[in-house]
């Protein structure tokens, strides 16, 4: 071929792209960019961003027990937890302070993995730009709290699996309590023991999924 034919062939490629940008769809060589604030890509369910704390039903009822495991596992150490104490200086199973520094957090998701109480999960909210570092980027407990419904909304697969697991655990706990109560009752009234134990624990209908 003559000198310059490679250039011409290359130019045909760009011309094709130019034409395709008017007549073709994004998957066929057309424009593939997204006009961000108006158009958005579908969020991937597994997408992880900064962590948040889950509560059940009411914000007082948060799952976190201030065990400090996530703070210890966190690679950049962006989580600060202070346990709450009651009037008698007895430790309570809830955090008084739970703060995450978004300027330090690197979205690795290790806190979510390590948490034994299913209390901390990675959020999908990525529009957190702010000029106020202390107020908006060093998040305190109140700002971190989000409901279980929200968790179910953004990550249905994970959330339902965890809910099922928790329901099962709850049921087991209840059963154990009932069994203990039954035992106590049995101890109290030794003769009629057999019938009371028939009270079976509620078995969850759905088997837990592996996550």
């Amino acid at each position: 071929m003559f000198f310059g034919s490679g250039v011409i062939k290359g130019m045909l490629v760009t011309l094709k792209a130019f034409a395709a940008s008017y007549f073709r769809g994004p998957d066929k060589g057309g424009i593939f960019t997204v006009q961000y604030p108006e158009q958005r890509l579908a969020e991937k369910e597994n997408f992880r961003n900064f962590p948040f704390l889950v509560y059940d039903k009411t914000p007082d009822n948060l799952r976190c027990v201030a065990c400090d495991i996530c703070a210890k596992e966190c690679p950049p150490k962006c989580i600060t937890i202070v346990r709450e104490f009651d009037k008698d200086n007895k430790p309570l199973k809830r955090p008084a302070v739970f703060s995450i520094d978004h300027t330090v957090c690197m979205n690795c998701g290790i806190c979510e993995e390590a948490c034994p109480f299913d209390a901390i999960f990675m959020d999908h909210n990525f529009e957190i730009a702010s000029t106020d570092r202390q107020g908006d980027l060093l998040l305190q407990k109140e700002a971190l709290l989000k409901s279980n419904d929200y968790f179910n909304k953004i990550r249905p697969t994970d959330a339902s699996a965890i809910d099922a697991k928790r329901a099962e655990a709850e049921a087991k706990k209840k059963a154990a309590e009932q069994a203990a109560a039954a035992k106590a009752a049995a101890a109290a009234a030794a003769p009629k023991l057999a019938a009371a134990a028939a009270d079976k624990p509620a078995v969850p209908t759905e088997p837990p999924k592996t996550v």
Partner: protein
């Protein structure tokens, strides 16, 4: 500006292709010392080259690194093994999956963990997808250095985007994947994702053909790249260059073949070798490597078995990675990263933190050869040679 010294004169005469000026000339000229970087548009980050120019010809070039030093190794020595995993993402932020792979491989070697079959296959798939991402954008950026106004790089990014979507779907993050765990993976790959990967693998060759039509035979690209920045075979071996750079110089060395780590020895693929070792060979070897990667991906997608995604031995540490304490000893694990041999050296003293942790960063070691390739070339060539090495400053400076 510095006046020319004798030592410079000797270096110039020893180097090839150098147009020595007429010594009889009565015109007094000076060399020009310029700082390319750290705020230069095409040093791929905060990298600096102290270049001495004679006209447009580079007479000496000193790379200055370290502007992005973040204490990666020291940080890793002060935290648990698993907590280093997200930090390895940030080494070479284009290839977090391969970085994860290297670190996981090293610790698995240290603690003698057997990895389930499915995990190996997923790892290979992810590593090869990463190679596609890296090579395609490396070529794009090389063309940017050559002066093409972003067209190749945006075509490359269009394809990269599709692969990054896969990464986001499996790991949760597009670039900082943090997906591998010692003995397993963060989460399983769903069949839907595998189907998507298959779609990418099927469509990628068409894109590569188009990309090659745009570039491979382009006369300007050939003129700019052929016989520029030749890296001789011996020098490449002596300087312990690895990766596409080494193979472009004609050395048949690919750790996937040499070590056969993971399940690479089960796949049919070839190692492309360049005849000359110039910028053009580096460009074309990358194209060929992508085509080989596609072959591997095709076989891996066909052969992926069902099964566990976490080794039995490591199950207790899924919830408490901090408690993972490998036995006393040392291990060096290496993978064929897209940029070269990515090695992790780790010494364990039996505690939860590594006693010594070292990264053999391919970008860093490949960069040491820069001056030898650039001397006697034009300034414009020096930029292109730097681009053809394909560095990521996150990995160079660590």
């Amino acid at each position: 500006m510095t006046t020319r010294t004798n030592s410079l004169k000797t270096t110039m005469q020893t180097s090839k292709n150098y147009e020595v000026r007429d010594p009889q000339s009565s015109i007094e000229t000076q060399t020009l010392a310029i700082n390319v970087g750290p705020q230069h548009p095409s040093t791929h980050g905060v990298f600096r080259m102290n270049v001495v120019l004679d006209g447009e010809v580079v007479t000496s070039l000193k790379p200055v690194m370290g502007y992005l030093h973040r204490n990666h190794e020291q940080i890793a020595e002060n935290m648990s093994y698993a907590a280093s995993m997200p930090y390895t993402d940030r080494l070479d932020y284009f290839n977090s999956m391969t970085n994860n792979f290297g670190w996981a491989l090293t610790v698995e070697k240290l603690a003698a963990i057997d990895v389930p079959e499915r995990v190996e296959y997923v790892r290979v798939i992810m590593a090869e997808l990463t190679r596609l991402v890296n090579h395609v954008s490396a070529i794009g950026f090389l063309l940017n250095d050559l002066g093409a106004f972003f067209t190749p790089v945006l075509y490359a990014f269009r394809e990269r985007e599709k692969i990054l979507d896969i990464f986001e779907e499996v790991s949760g993050s597009r670039m900082m994947c943090n997906y591998f765990r010692f003995g397993g993976l963060r989460r399983d790959v769903t069949p839907a994702v595998l189907e998507k990967i298959r779609g990418i693998v099927n469509k990628f060759p068409a894109f590569l053909d188009e990309f090659e039509t745009l570039l491979t035979k382009n006369e300007i690209l050939c003129m700019r790249c052929q016989n520029v920045g030749i890296l001789p075979r011996d020098l490449a071996v002596n300087a312990s260059i690895t990766g596409p750079l080494l193979r472009a110089s004609g050395v048949n060395y690919d750790i996937r073949k040499v070590d056969g780590y993971s399940v690479y020895n089960r796949f049919e693929f070839k190692v492309p070798l360049g005849p000359k070792g110039d910028v053009y060979d580096r460009y074309y070897v990358r194209i060929l490597e992508m085509r080989e990667s596609l072959k591997i991906l095709d076989q891996a997608l066909k052969g992926i078995p069902a099964g566990e995604i976490m080794a039995k031995k490591m199950l207790p540490f899924v919830k408490s990675p901090r408690n993972f304490k490998p036995p006393v000893g040392e291990a060096y694990g290496r993978v064929e990263g897209p940029k070269g041999e990515l090695g992790f050296y780790v010494v364990s003293d039996g505690t939860a933190q590594p006693w010594r942790y070292h990264v053999r960063a391919p970008s860093f070691i490949n960069l040491t050869i820069l001056e030898d390739m650039c001397r006697g070339q034009k300034l414009a060539d020096a930029i292109v040679i730097l681009g053809s090495i394909d560095i990521v400053l996150g990995e160079v400076d660590r």
